[in-house]
């Protein structure tokens, strides 16, 4: 059974909502990213989403764009991100790691090489933002072969017909994009999210996690109420960015507690 499945089953048994922090790998540097991943688990993360830097992140807002630019300025490559997961796995066998990025770096590496490197390093799932279900079969086939889950996005604009097609291809969990816009936006409509998630629930049994626009305890609680987990990205990336300016690594990892603790508490309160 995949790490993702085991983790979601355990969460369900404990009626616990997943808290999923997002970091851009290599921001501010790879060594700090590794510390941040472990610290996130200590602060109550159930899964970790790791952003793969890309030069043209057209679905990301300014905060994640800037993080991607910093990582690229550090020379961080897709193979470095995979190696980061390998290092993380040497002391954490259980926490699922999901890579999130854009297709072109994977194309450049080659699908087969990417799949084998990712699975060998202990990557559990992959989200490719600009790879909709219609174009996904080639990559999904090689990921399926190595038991790496391809996680698809569902958006507020997704029609029932598309939802059906996505559900048929979905592996691991579904990632619901909570708003029309880019990561880090601030116009979240929680009642709309609730309606859409109910529609998804009627189509499949997969865990539903929600991301884009969740930044504090209040939004986490509202979304946590109707989902199986929340992804918090820009809020975390922003605080990492603020603290990493001239700070030591120790201080950077210490920044996670103040951001994550209220979210964890809000979710556990449900």
């Amino acid at each position: 059974m995949s790490r993702l499945k085991v983790r979601f089953a355990a969460l369900k048994a404990r009626r616990r909502r997943a808290l999923i922090p997002f970091f851009t790998a290599g921001d501010p540097d790879l060594a700090t990213s590794l510390k941040l991943m472990h610290e996130a688990v200590a602060q109550g993360a159930d899964l970790i989403e790791l952003g793969v830097p890309f030069s043209d992140p057209s679905a990301d807002g300014p905060v994640v764009q800037a993080a991607s630019e910093r990582a690229l300025a550090n020379g961080v490559r897709l193979c470095d991100v995979i190696d980061l997961v390998r290092q993380f796995r040497t002391s954490d066998e259980d926490t699922p790691v999901v890579l999130m990025g854009y297709l072109n770096p994977i194309e450049a590496m080659g699908y087969a090489e990417f799949a084998s490197a990712a699975t060998a390093a202990g990557v559990d799932a992959v989200i490719v933002v600009d790879l909709p279900v219609e174009e996904a079969p080639d990559l999904q086939q090689v990921l399926d072969a190595v038991d790496v889950d391809m996680v698809f996005l569902v958006a507020p604009t997704t029609t029932p017909k598309r939802m059906q097609a996505i559900v048929e291809h979905a592996r691991g969990c579904l990632y619901y994009v909570s708003l029309k816009g880019v990561t880090g936006a601030s116009h979240l409509d929680t009642s709309d999210v609730e309606r859409r998630l109910a529609a998804l629930r009627s189509l499949c049994d997969l865990p539903l996690v929600v991301g884009f626009g969740i930044r504090d305890a209040a939004t986490a609680e509202a979304i946590g109420r109707c989902s199986d987990g929340v992804v918090v990205g820009s809020a975390i990336v922003q605080s990492v960015a603020e603290l990493s300016q001239g700070a030591s690594n120790l201080q950077v990892t210490q920044c996670l507690g103040p951001v994550m603790a209220p979210l964890r508490a809000a979710l556990d309160h449900l």
């Binding site: 890309f54 030069s55 043209d56 992140p57 057209s58 679905a59 990301d60 807002g61 300014p62 764009q65 800037a66 630019e69 690229l72 490559r77 897709l78 193979c79 854009y102 297709l103 072109n104 770096p105 994977i106 194309e107 450049a108 590496m109 933002v129 600009d130 790879l131 909709p132 219609e134 174009e135 698809f152 996005l153 569902v154 958006a155 507020p156 604009t157 997704t158 029609t159 598309r162 996505i166 994009v177 029309k180 816009g181 880019v182 936006a185």
Partner: protein, 408 residues
């Protein structure tokens, strides 16, 4: 021979139902935009067979744009180069000064049909931005144009033109601050405002159905060229030459000729400082296949799939990708792609201005420049048509600066 013709028929009928030109094209965008693209495709497939739509389009092209644009025999340039007869397709004489308006007229009609009251666009040199602002002004649509902050500085004249036309120009300060980043930002805007906004893409790139519909709107260039060649020389030309950035003027000229396999097609990319230096914008000559801005195509990228910065004296060619149909025409061998350097393009700019009294855009100057290499390979009784895709007024500051002359 019949199998040959069948292969040709396939050339013109592409893309396939999912927007693929061979292995290129497709629809690689975030899920949020997928429905909007499906809607656009459905609307376009409807109007494609709607003669009322096309008569409105043709009427606008005739009375607003000033079409047909002339096909002009450049006699002195022909003498100067001593090779084939050179004809210029004068897209520079269109309203707003370039071929870009053919596409924005068509897409603005589509936007109106879809009930969208707000249009957005990306622009590099500013020509597509101006063409979009122009049709938005005419139809009373709200218009925002994304432009890399580097380009905002380089193309101050066009920025002011867009403002006069009532558009808002938004400088994009992320990434390399040029055209590709403007396109990223336009995609972000579209994802956020997808319900009421129409995204007018300026070239034959982007997710399906854009490469198809922009090509269809621009194909007026090639269709006119065919009938003008019949009138003036009584036959098809032997070769066509066009500059290639995103590729809309090139595919517009080439597409109606795809089945005429005895007409050679030459696409001229921006060689910048020379392809060997790495400082260029020639993905077809020196790039490789990848995925960016919604389509699979040839790209300028590093070994890790990161898009690299491009270089060209011409802002309109300064783009790391190219339309998927042009990529496919490379692989099928139907088109030949070459490059000329900044320096060669600048010489051609000066030559055409002095010899013919026609000042070409720096983009189009690349196509003119290639004639120096092509002419010696052709016979005197042959005919080559060059797409003069835009006029050079917008580039006078750039050329003056290179000459060390400070204009007020």
């Amino acid at each position: 021979m019949s199998s040959h013709r069948q292969a040709d028929a396939r050339l013109e009928s592409f893309p396939d139902a999912r927007g693929h030109f061979g292995r290129y094209g497709g629809r690689f965008v975030a899920e949020t935009l997928m429905h909007a693209l499906e809607e656009l495709e459905a609307t376009y497939l409807q109007v494609r067979d709607d003669s009322a739509f096309w008569s409105e389009f043709d009427r606008d092209l005739a009375h607003y744009v000033g079409r047909p644009s002339p096909l002009y025999f450049a006699e002195r340039l022909t003498q100067e180069l001593g090779g084939p007869k050179i004809y210029l397709k004068r897209e520079d004489l269109n309203h707003t000064g370039a071929h870009k308006i053919n596409n924005t007229i068509g897409q603005a009609l589509l936007a109106s049909r879809m009930g969208k009251r707000r249009v957005i666009a990306e622009t590099g040199a500013g020509q597509h931005g101006v063409a979009t602002a122009t049709v938005a002004a005419r139809l009373g649509l709200e218009c925002q144009v994304y432009m890399g902050s580097e380009d905002v500085e380089r193309q101050a004249l066009n920025v002011y033109r867009m403002k006069l036309l009532g558009a808002q120009v938004i400088p994009v300060r992320s990434g390399s601050r040029t055209l590709k980043d403007a396109m990223n930002e336009a995609l972000r805007d579209w994802a956020t405002n997808v319900d009421d906004t129409y995204y007018i893409i300026g070239t034959v790139a982007g997710p399906h159905p854009y490469p198809m519909l922009v090509r269809d709107f621009q194909s007026i260039i090639g269709r006119e060229t065919q009938s003008q060649c019949q009138e003036q020389i009584g036959r098809m030309p032997d070769a066509l030459v066009a500059c290639v950035g995103g590729g809309s003027n090139a595919i517009g000229l080439f597409h109606p000729f795809l089945n005429h396999t005895d007409v050679a097609l030459y696409g001229v990319e921006a060689g910048g400082d020379g392809v060997a230096t790495g400082r260029h914008a020639a993905p077809l000559c020196a790039g490789r296949s990848g995925v960016l801005h919604g389509n699979r195509t040839y790209l300028m990228e590093d070994d890790d799939g990161q898009i690299v910065e491009t270089h060209s004296v011409s802002a309109g060619l300064d783009y790391p990708g190219v339309g998927p149909e042009l990529a496919w025409l490379k692989d099928t061998g139907r088109a030949t792609y070459v490059s000329v350097t900044d320096e060669e393009a600048l010489s051609a700019f000066r030559d055409l201005t002095r010899i013919e009294g026609i000042m070409p855009a720096l983009e189009s100057s690349h196509a003119v420049a290639y004639l120096r290499q092509l002419a010696p390979q052709m016979e005197r009784d042959q005919v080559v048509v060059v797409n003069l895709s835009g006029r050079g007024d917008k580039d006078i500051h750039t050329v003056a600066k290179i000459d060390g002359i400070a204009l007020a």
